[in-house]
Symmetry: C2
Amino acid sequence: MTDHIFSMHRGGKLSIQSTVSVKTPEELAVAYTPGVAKISMAIHQEQAKAYDFTIKKNTVAVISDGSAVLGLGDIGPLAALPVMEGKALLFKELANIDAFPICLDTKDPEAIIQTIKHIAPTFGGINLEDISAPRCFEIEKRLKEILDIPVFHDDQHGTAVVVTAAIINALKIVNKKPVDVKVVVSGVGAAGTACIKMLKDLGVHQIVGCDRLGAIYEGRAQLDDSKQQLACITNPAMEKGTLKEVIKGADVFIGLSGPNILEGEDIKQMAKDPIVFAMSNPTPEIMPEIAKPFARIIATGRSDYPNQINNVLCFPGLFRGLLDCQASFISDEMKMATARAIASIVSDEELNPDYIIPNVFNPRVVQEVSKAVRHVVQTQK
Amino acid sequence: MTDHIFSMHRGGKLSIQSTVSVKTPEELAVAYTPGVAKISMAIHQEQAKAYDFTIKKNTVAVISDGSAVLGLGDIGPLAALPVMEGKALLFKELANIDAFPICLDTKDPEAIIQTIKHIAPTFGGINLEDISAPRCFEIEKRLKEILDIPVFHDDQHGTAVVVTAAIINALKIVNKKPVDVKVVVSGVGAAGTACIKMLKDLGVHQIVGCDRLGAIYEGRAQLDDSKQQLACITNPAMEKGTLKEVIKGADVFIGLSGPNILEGEDIKQMAKDPIVFAMSNPTPEIMPEIAKPFARIIATGRSDYPNQINNVLCFPGLFRGLLDCQASFISDEMKMATARAIASIVSDEELNPDYIIPNVFNPRVVQEVSKAVRHVVQTQK
């Protein structure tokens, strides 16, 4: 198997192709000098024409500094490159987007911001990837302010969108409303924080975030800036205690933390019809086999169990919609439209505890998501 | 014709393709997570493996700040993009190199240097393009110091290599040796300066560079840093005066300046068998029709006259050779080997005043150049 993996990756996984022919002097004179000067002057006179006559319209940069790659941690830009190539592959295969991997030889947030600002003209969108928290928050925020193309940190918002889509469908099964449920989120890094914010947008009021010290509440010790902000917008009941304490009575558990931190007994303590999203990879917060006797609905990040929460459901269709409209930013409404579109792929007839989220290879996902995004972009333009 | 040009460029001229299939969950698990983690860890443990398992091995960045695009001047990064795409096209079509255009939204040399340093991990080489002098000198010099991949400013060295190749063959026809000839170079920007340095490497002692004020010599007024340096290494006879004065008795004229600055009478004043390279584009320093009665050999930058001096003869084969050897730098010897390889394509039997340099579509060019470069890289490694 390992040999097979290495041979598949040999030479890299992408190539760049010409879409025009330059096999004769005449063709060369049109595609390159002197013909190309006419295109350059047209764009010089009207910058928007770059969307018509260059690759900008369909090209996304997949950018990482290699600081938080998969579950491997800070392995650096060169080691991150195969992952970013894989991501670019998925952009192409699923949504016909030309994505190019850029791996950054710096971990300084200001240098990352400036570098991305400087290379932005070639691209119609920026997909940030595997950049560690809390730096990723500042980097994304600043780039959104500076750039006139969409900027998306997939680890935050891709996860949040797909979790939200799955929660929409899970709540349908147990016949509960967002406004009535209590959600406990274990892990408040990039992904956990984004999930919490998006679930609030969905209408969930009672969310308790937990780090290694337990529930986060206003005034607790050891809160960095990011957790401080979370404390302000979550846990209105000021619940205190460990994860195992605050999970009691919760309707939904969302795990984006580490392996094997819950037991069957903990799920038993949740409210009726527990929804358990144990997304730590490769080993979930609780193995599905252990949760099964107590939970009504279980989702993981793994492809070998039902209900895989996979960002691949989000980014191809989302960027397809954004690029199609030459969108200049991504709004919360676009992300929510994406989540609702993903959820909608599973019909009421199909919906069941083992099928709350579509398969990544379902071609309707990109179709429905991009349509929903185009609709929102056009109303927000 | 204009309509044809615009329709050929519509949508851009490049696309990114997957070289592996990801159509099933099994394939996805190999090309992306979890399989890709094995590749990342292998590279993390041994950085050189990036050349085996990523696109780095065959990928070149074509980078411009849009400050000196073709003859159009400072038209900015977006307007430069179609030209850089065209360049990438030629890399692919002629040498099967995956080149990606990066257009920079800054003209600050330090910002350009830092940006390129930060995005370098993805690439096996950097081709700088259409960056105005004198900033291009500092940018290239610093990047060569910092980076462990080859850096090549095509406007300087590509031109110098092809001019040198053509001079080698032209001197053969008139049966003169580099050491004996006097060369006058009109225009001492990026290209002119590089030509002068390379002709010195070829063994030419008497070179007189000219700017708008005439011959450059030590102690002359209005010499910036770059011209000051040129003054030190050229014009040993301290010739003074206008271009029309110093061209008297010269064996070779090299024009990289502006249109129609010479007349037939000036060529008549040159030494026996004048060699005239009038490369200002689109209008040469002297039109071939006017030079013809007096010059033995005429070359231009245009495809509609014999002897087109075209950088396309250099960069595809040069980078092919560099990438094949995972070269970490470009030496003067590699550039000279490239010039000699280009010159060698024209056999002694074929060589004549209207054929001193091969056609850009001659497949032997990339073949011979890359072979020559690989040979030098292997001896210098």
